[in-house]
């Protein structure tokens, strides 16, 4: 006899799903978590190689830490809103940890796919 879920003591915030380049089209107008590798930055626009190797255009905030030429690492996690043209508007960004071994985007991509499909109940609303 179990009490109902949602007993974690906080109003549950919605998930911000982890996506790769191919999944962006399915999340237009929504917030997503996009992890990838910065390939180039030009003013307030950044090109990110997503975990499926697709290039994504990210429009940066005016005070974005990603706009600077100096970065601790090229691997970042960006929370952003997906626009109709498939670009992403940055809301928040963080550099991935810099120690240990280089970030393996391909393996991370496997997790993204599992999170979207077979194990969605563990990852998404």
């Amino acid at each position: 006899m179990a009490a109902s879920g949602a007993s974690s003591g906080d109003a549950a915030m919605p998930a911000v799903p982890r996506v790769n380049g191919a999944m962006l089209a399915g999340h237009q107008g929504k917030l997503v978590t996009l992890v990838g590798k910065i390939t180039s930055v030009s003013g307030s626009t950044l090109t990110l190689e997503a975990s499926d190797s697709e290039n994504v255009t990210v429009h940066l905030l005016s005070d974005s830490a990603l706009a600077s030429g100096e970065r601790p690492t090229d691997f970042v996690e960006i929370i952003g809103m997906v626009a109709e043209d498939g670009s992403v508007r940055e809301q928040l960004a963080a550099f991935l940890p810099t120690g240990g071994t280089p970030f393996d985007l391909a393996t991370y991509n496997e997790v993204v796919c599992l999170a979207a499909d077979k194990f969605a109940p563990l990852f998404r609303d």
Partner: protein
Amino acid sequence: MGMSQGMGATPTKQGGYDELTLTPATIRQYQTATISDVEGRVLLDGTELKDIKLVGRVVEADPSDSALSLQIEDGTGRVRIKYWYPQAADGTTDGARKADMDAAVTEGTFVSVSAAVKTSNGRMILNGSTIKPLADPNEITLHFVEAIHVHVDRTRRIPYSKGGSNPEGAGAGAGAGAGAAAVTGFGMGSMQASSSGFGMGSGASSFGAGLDVKPVLGGGGAAGSSSGSGVGGGGGMSEFDLHEHLKTILAKCTDDQGMAIGDLARQVQSRGVTEETVRKAIEDLSMTGAVYSTTDDEHVKSTEAE
């Protein structure tokens, strides 16, 4: 910078490692855990959730004199954790360790958190015991893989005949009524995450080479969906008959490398048994020592064959 208070995965008093005391999970899984009325225990995937391991990005870090209140997010949700700083000998907060923690754990930092799961007034709260900035970005990926692995492992214990009790949250349909029809389509499958050579920071081998993620999921899909889709389909063999039948076929096979599981599946296909069910049965048989793998995972041989 591990501010640990001695928490970790430890064997149970019975001496086995069957019950991890530290469960890797996503925040969403934590939010779907239930409080069992019986003793106020928290349950996830049919197992008591005592200590949880989460990995996420710090959204808010709010230090006070005695404790650090954190909010972390992992893409699946957001959660609060309260971490009491270690104390000095005189019972006050250890200032140096607090300073280290406050400097290391700030907004935007990726951390690994282990926390005790408690209940208070019917709600769950997390008391942090270890909070550690990640030493390697691949820990993010590894954590999710571990969460999936433990989830599959805990939800796979489903008898598909004899009407045994189901772990909470597992797919419905097991033990169907009269016992005649088994749950043939319900193959939970297995997730193999072998992380041999995964030396975080050891430098010896690269993460990519070490981690091999092969999810194989058939039938009803992830636990938690009790719709029973894909469960109890097509008539068929009870568990007892299928195992014996497979053993009989294999016992007659004198080939050194045994038989391919695919071939075995084809042989029982006419009886309405799906390949997923055969694979599950083979797994069961290899756990009891009746069959074993030969040249590769796909080939098995009976221990009774010549």
